[in-house]
Amino acid sequence: MVLSCRHVWDHISGYIDNTLDPQVRADVERHLATCEICSAILDSTRNIIVLMADDRVFELPLDFSQRLHARLDEVLQHEYPEPPALGP
């Protein structure tokens, strides 16, 4: 089936995650092979996903870890974990 650009845009995310039906994927691929605009949209979306996964984007605040473990220490010194909840 020949897809329009707009239809291809609907499948960009599924294409990246490789969750499209084989037939739809083949149609998308055929379109991408000849459409510079859609292949640029695909590439740039992929790029953004790569950037999002980079640890530097959402870094921990300064001394986050120190404060967390200090607070944890106060509890660890005085408390044991609770006994397991009795299941049904």
Partner: protein, 218 residues
């Protein structure tokens, strides 16, 4: 506790050993147990409460809760998923208590996205990973994520920032796999549209000062 972890998976085995040792009385091992997940939990909390200081409080409360409830962790889910579930609950509880809507209306967004058109720029092919060294570029991405509708921000954080599977994301958020896919797609397309025109400039010209700090692009 069940021992159905994949045989030969050393990380999981040592994690289970750590948990067993904590429950047997070596309480200080809990520090080691949660250390690998701090950043993941922080990003989860931040996606919901949208405020750094509050996200930090959420993580602290969630980690304490995880310690107290550790004996209830059954090992049939991944420990990381269990921690994230506790963190999501803490964050939601806080939003509820403060009467802040956990979700904005997606119906309006859905309407607005009906004729979505991505940013079609053909000259940005490289991933400007080096640009992430620059604070203004990180801020640009953070801002674009912060501006997403709440439900989209949650999905994209779990899927693309923390790289959880679609199935784990669906079960953590209590929604269907199909809905995860739809929302993820829309979230990615919204980010594409917002970010590409700016990141493309970065990719093209790393040397030029672009004054991102004062760009208003919403």
């Amino acid at each position: 506790m069940t021992t159905r972890a994949p045989v030969g998976h050393r990380e999981i085995a040592s994690e289970q050993e750590l948990i067993a040792s904590i429950l047997a009385g070596q309480r200080e091992n809990f520090h080691l147990l949660i250390r690998p997940y701090e950043q993941q939990l922080y990003r989860t909390a931040l996606a919901l409460v949208k405020n750094e200081a509050e996200a930090e409080d959420v993580v602290q409360d969630a980690v304490l809760k995880a310690y107290r409830k550790l004996a209830s962790f059954r090992g049939d889910a991944k420990f990381s998923t269990w921690l994230i579930a506790i963190t999501l609950n803490e964050a939601r509880g806080r939003l509820r208590k403060e009467n802040r809507a956990a979700f904005d209306s997606l119906d309006e967004q859905r309407e607005a996205n009906g004729d979505f058109t991505p940013a079609a720029l053909t000259d940005w092919r490289e991933v400007p990973l080096a640009a992430l060294e620059r604070q203004e570029i990180r801020a640009l991405i953070q801002q674009a994520v912060a501006e997403l509708p709440d439900a989209y921000r949650e999905i994209i954080t779990l899927r693309d920032v923390e790289e959880l599977s679609v199935n784990d994301t669906a079960s953590l958020l209590g929604i269907s796999v199909a809905l995860v896919k739809v929302r993820l797609h829309r979230a990615r397309m919204m980010l594409q549209k917002k970010l590409v025109p700016h990141l493309r400039l970065v990719a093209k010209s790393g040397r030029k000062r672009l004054g991102f700090g004062r760009l208003s692009w919403f």
